[in-house]
């Protein structure tokens, strides 16, 4: 793949994660041919087209000609890259990897999302573990700059570098590479959620209180430049002084609360189920999806202009013949 990992290559996309649709649009915008494997190709195809049609610069439908949504792979060329976006389940991820290894040449890259499983666990039974790397996204994947690449000692460095370059050049991402078996994104979020659970379980706050606090405090600065920079903007030493008092009192729970296990056990698994931490009316999930996509376009504009304007290559559909 070393010589031909470019935006003109076909990319295989598989898995049942919500972000598959946005990622398909992201790759189509970059000029890739995209083949999406889905158990329900009609529904998946509709979702991708809906994302595509909501693009602010929609109007060129040529990109959609490069999309194929299939129920079983139709391999004609030799794809250089396959991306797995599956639920957080080791066996499912391994079975996707095994299936792709049957199709792909030894030089093709396999990127797999993983929040908590070690990359080495995913590589364990692979014929070519050196071409497997961790790739984590943020929903909606076509309008967010986030891409976490995870590579360990087994992963080929040149492959990681090429994917990072491709992402920077064509996918409208600003990736970072973690040289470890685990990513950093989910532990950071988990640290926040653990403290939120701590406050709720001890009767200090409700789910609604936590969400309001997130939106109305961090929601006013996080987009600007990240946490460490924010401390510098506000006066770094003050944070050190607060840590002295506060760090000894922060939650240290090593397990999730029973109430959360019960919630999921009862099938209250979130918007798709109509209930989770909150209750949802029928049709509300689709409204949230639309709302998030609208909001993402607006926040993306701030990401581009702050802290200082960045000139990223805007995907050009017309690049393709």
């Amino acid at each position: 793949m070393n010589d031909h990992l470019s935006s003109m290559e076909e990319v295989l996309l598989t898995g049942d994660h919500l972000s598959v649709y946005g990622l398909a649009v992201c790759l189509l915008q970059a000029g890739h041919k995209v083949q999406v494997k889905s158990a329900d190709p009609v529904t998946s195809g509709k979702q991708i087209i809906r994302c595509w049609e909501e693009l602010p610069d929609e109007g060129n439908s040529a990109g959609l000609d490069n999309l194929r949504v299939v129920s079983s792979w139709q391999i004609q060329s030799s794809p250089a890259l396959a991306i797995i976006l599956s639920p957080e389940d080791l066996a499912i991820k391994q079975s996707h990897i095994a299936e792709l290894e049957e199709l792909l040449s030894a030089g093709a890259v396999i990127g797999v999302n993983t929040e908590s499983f070690a990359l080495s666990e995913l590589q364990a039974n692979a014929a070519h573990p050196e071409r497997i790397l961790g790739m984590n996204w943020v929903e909606p994947a076509h309008s967010t700059l986030f891409l976490e690449l995870i590579r360990n000692e087994t992963t080929r460095e040149d492959m990681t570098d090429r994917v990072a370059e491709l992402a920077r050049q064509y996918w409208y991402k600003d990736p970072y590479v973690i040289r470890s078996d685990y990513g950093i994104r989910m532990p950071l979020l988990a640290a926040l959620v653990r403290e939120a659970f701590h406050l709720i379980e001890n009767g200090y706050a409700s789910v609604e209180d936590i969400d309001r606090a997130c939106r109305n405090d961090a929601g006013y600065y996080l987009t600007f430049a990240g946490n460490l920079r924010y401390m510098d903007l506000m006066g770094t030493n003050a944070y050190g002084m607060v840590m002295k008092e506060l760090n000894p009192e922060l939650g240290t729970e090593s397990s999730v609360p029973e109430s959360f296990i019960k919630l999921v056990g009862e099938g209250r698994t979130g918007m798709a189920a109509g209930k989770g931490f909150y209750a949802y009316e029928s049709g509300e999930k689709a409204k949230w999806e639309k709302l998030l996509r609208e909001f993402s376009v607006e926040i993306k504009d701030l990401f581009e202009r702050y802290p200082f304007p960045v000139h990223r290559k805007t995907p050009q559909f017309s690049d393709k013949g």
């Binding site: 973690i178 950071l188 939120a196 997130c214 600065y221 760090n247 090593s254 989770g276």
Partner: protein, 326 residues
Amino acid sequence: MEKKLLTHEIPVGVVGLGLMGSSIVAALLVAGHPVKAIAPVQSDLLNIQDRIKSQLLLCKDAGLISHDTHTYLNRLDISDDYTQLAPCALVLECVIEDPEIKKAVYLKITRVVGSDTVLASNTSAIPISQLQQFVERPERFLGIHWAEPAFMTRFLEITCGQQTDPDLANRIYRLAHHWGKEPTLLRKDIRGFITNRLMYAVYREIFSMLNKGTATAEDLDKSFRYDAGSWMTLMGVFRRMDYLGLDDFKTAFERIFPRLDNSTDVPPVMEEIVRRDGRGIHNGTGLYPYKEGEALKWDRAFSQFSSEIHELATRYSADAIAEKLK
């Protein structure tokens, strides 16, 4: 004060007119309250009328108020005389974070106000349970914590101390909705309240990763900024998890929680910054290096960003979101 919640019938006192205090005065005027502003130190009186007027003009520009500024300024009395506070139903203390000074201020307030006047502190550092010990009838004391600029942000944390009357906290919570806020009510007092604790938990993990060399400062800032920063103005963390599906989070958290950092110490890099009195961009010593003149660029960019994110966040307020979801 809670019967009809007509703000123009509820006089509110503000004691302490520094950066935060004057901004709170403007917020209360915008909300329609008559305001008695008390300056405990003479320097607070310097240009105070002009400062509040310029804040009201900002509100006017932002479309937060419909009348001319004098309509609001007519409802404002500025003084160094505590007896002005006599008619107030609520008095907010915004003086420096020194328990002894606060104690003296509370004594001056309680001497002149009625026994059912509610007292509140804007503290972000001292537990409410500690401060309320200084007040006669401590059940009427609570924390009302604002974010700067108070007349713009929808942030407000209302905190009960151990002895605070919960009904009273609920009444203030309802009143705060008339201030254009989306208030959070902390039923029990805890150091750092909600937002500080959530973010300090993230900082602890960030510094652990920095220390182990797992990621660079730039990687860590990118990670949280591009992930949480892309949705947190719209959704809180629990709404976000509902959106993405809780099964995956359960699996991930069960595996990650045991690996999270639990250290209680100040991270060495932060200890060093405290030792060197590093104030970040304000004196060029912080977590990132700053060249000559660079700090000013950061400061300007952040100030410009703040006004833009306020505008965006206002269009995605809780009420606006409810309307969009109809």
